[in-house]
Every structure is written in C-alpha cells, then in structure tokens.
C-alpha cells in the first residue's frame, strides 16, 4: 500500500486558489443608489404627493476625470425610460411633463426638474509581486501588470422649481440617484445598462408617486 499524501496537498492547494475573486457578475455589475430628501416626522411620499408636473432637461452634463466637458443630448432610450416611469400612463408616477425649454437662466414651468450628469472616471491600477527573501526585498518586474479602465456613473437629480407647501422650495434637491458603473468605455451610444439602472432606481423609489 503506497500512499501519496502530496496528492491531497496539491489538490487542496489547487482548491485554495478558487473562490478568492469576485465573479464577473459582481465586478461588471451596476450599483443603484437612491435617496429622497429628509422629511422629519413624515414619510418620503409626503414630499411628492402634492407635485403634479416635471421638466426633463434634454441635455446631459458630462464630466471626465474632474473636468467638465461639453454637454451631450440625452440618449433617446433614457428619455423614453424617464418619461414612461414619471408619466401618467400605466405604471407611471403620475406627473405631467412640461416640455417648454426656458433657455439659459430660465426656470421651467413645472413643479420639479430632472437633470442627469454623466461622470467618467479613469481608474488606474498597478500590481507587482514583491517578497522578502532572507534580508532581501525582491520585486519581480516581469510579474507586474498595470492598466486602466473607465467607469461611467450617471447622477440623476430631481430639484424643486416652485414653492409647494412648506417643504418644496426652488432649488431644493428632492430626490437623487447615483447609477454607478452603468456606462463604461462604450459611452452613451449603447446604454442598455443605463436603462435598466434607471428602471431599478424608479423601482426602489415608489414614494415618488403623486396623487
């Protein structure tokens, strides 16, 4: 009978390599954050029930690594998603859309305004393999690897445009959403992830519904 315990050790060592890294569905997924304005002593829905109309800014603020870029037009799929979910149709929150663009410096004739910003961030990474062997600190240049990738985060902000009751005032942020990692290097041309993230943001914000 000849036992080879090293086989077992090798199998365990091989198994130990697994399970350490997050799967692609996590690393390349998307994160959706939403938050209503504080309503001390009340419910978030109290804030939105008196509202009736909204204005969607057709231009998209664009930032790249902290520098503001020229604005872009909202993708049509994004406009469709927002107007469907905010609108008065089935499944909508019941707002009426105001489409008259007031121009620079003007205030739209609506209770609230919706505006989106696209923030591109370049992330750089560098990994190497260094170790201490006796008294020497070695780095293996051949083992190092470096690179960069771009994440595209979209911020959605709903701002009060009129004084309604005591809570809603012009310029006050009533609802914000951060859609993290919904646009990568591909940009806005192909934005199905932005659409699904927007839907998720509205799904987890049922208090946006008006009377």
């Amino acid at each position: 009978m000849k036992l080879r315990p090293w086989f077992l050790l090798a199998a365990v060592a091989a198994a130990s390599c697994g399970g350490y890294d997050a799967p692609d569905e996590v690393t390349f997924g998307q994160l959706v954050y939403t938050q209503p304005a504080p309503t001390p002593g009340g419910q978030p829905s109290d804030l939105f029930k008196p509202l009736t109309s909204y204005y969607l800014d057709p231009s998209l603020e664009v930032w790249k690594d902290g520098q503001q870029q020229l604005p872009q037009a909202l993708p049509s799929s994004t406009v469709t998603t927002i107007t469907t979910r905010m609108g008065t149709g089935t499944g909508g929150f019941g707002y009426t859309q105001q489409t008259n663009n007031p121009g620079p410096g003007g205030v739209p004739n609506a209770d609230v305004g919706l505006r989106l910003a696209y923030i591109q961030t370049t992330q750089a990474y560098y990994y190497n393999y260094c170790s201490i062997y006796w008294a020497y600190y070695y780095c293996y240049p051949g083992w190092a690897y470096a690179g960069s990738y771009t994440t595209g985060t979209v911020l959605v902000q709903m701002v009060g445009l009129k004084t309604i009751g005591t809570v809603v005032t012009p310029g006050k942020a009533l609802w914000v959403s951060a859609l993290y990692s919904v646009l990568g290097s591909a940009g806005l041309e192909n934005a199905p992830r932005l659409t699904s993230a927007l839907n998720q943001a509205f799904d987890q914000s049922p208090y946006l519904k008006t009377n």
């Binding site: 036992l3 997924g29 978030p44």
Partner: protein
Amino acid sequence: MNRTYVCAALAAVALAAWPASAQSSGWTEYRPAKTLFTMGYQMSQPLGNFHDYIGSSSFRGFTFDWRSMLSKNFSGGLRFNWNRYNESYSNVTETTTGGGTVTGPTFHYADQFAIQAIGHYYFDTGSESRFVPFLGIGLGGVWSNTYQQTIDLGVSQSGFYFITTPEAGLLINLAKGGTSAALHLSVLYNFTTASFRNVSNAQAITETLGLSFSY
C-alpha cells in the same frame, strides 16, 4: 569441519536477519499507537449571523493534526485547519442609515486559518474493533480574513481571534499493525470570536473526511 562452519554461518545470517524482517513488517505487527497524524478534507456550513453573511457551504477546507497518546484513551496535540467561504449575490437591496436605498451585486468572502491545542477521548471498543468513536475539543486562535466587494469597490477586515472546537468523530481502522491507518470522520462545531461587518462570533459546523496514521 567446513560443513560445520558453513551451517554456523548460515544460521548466524538467518538469526541476524530476523530483527530486520520484523522491522520491515511494521504495518502488520500490532502495537498500541503512541502518535497519530490526521490529514483531511473539510466542508463547513456557517451558522447564525455568519450564515446571514455567507449562506452557502464551504467546500474548500483542509485539516492537519498531530496527536500524542497521553494514556490509553486520551490524546493531546495540535491541529491546523483552514476553511474558505465565499458567496456572491446577484442583487442585494439595503437601506442606509440616511434613508437611502442601494441595490447591487455583492461578493462575500471569508478565510479562517486556525491553530489549536487539541485533546481527545477514545471510547474503548476492544483491540479487535474496527471502529473507534471519539470526542474531542480544541482551543486556540484563528486568523480571520474577510472581504466584501460590489462592482470595483472592495473592503476587507482581518484579525486574530479565539476559537474553540468541540468535536465528535469516528476512526474506522483500515490497516492495523505497528503503523495503522484509519479513515477519519468527524463533525466539529467551530465557535470563534471573529467579528466583522454584521457578524459577531462567527460560528460554523464543519465535517472532516480524512486519513489518520498512527504508530
């Protein structure tokens, strides 16, 4: 005369060979074991709020221990074991303290490396019995390393904590002699003081399937 010398020489060689022969048959000549080594594969299922953190079973685990018989039924020794737990969740929704809501995929991970002083009691089932049930306990320290990730955002925690491990098991003798081999089956309850995120005193049920060698 010459024949007498030849016979005497052959007898001397034969007699001198007996001890060597006895040594080489160490697997078959039984003697009570003094030292045991166990090497085994482990599976583990988190319990309590550790189960809330990682709900799935761990199939990555390993144990190695050394035991010395202190008396006929008691042994003392040292054990090292390692268990890796991980699970990913496709869409988790959580509410923040500020009233916000966040939804996204998450990955939870935990590694535990434990080293413990161990003591075991073996039930006397007779020298001819194939089965030897035992009870044991381990006391020591565990290095816990945990990690959480969503998208490209990750955070980790690590620390060294107390661990105690009551154990019940069974040795099934496969070969018995000067050196014996047995199949080792046991169930352990790992109680640690490892605390991270929403987990306090991480606990798990662990099963060992291994081989024990004794001599």
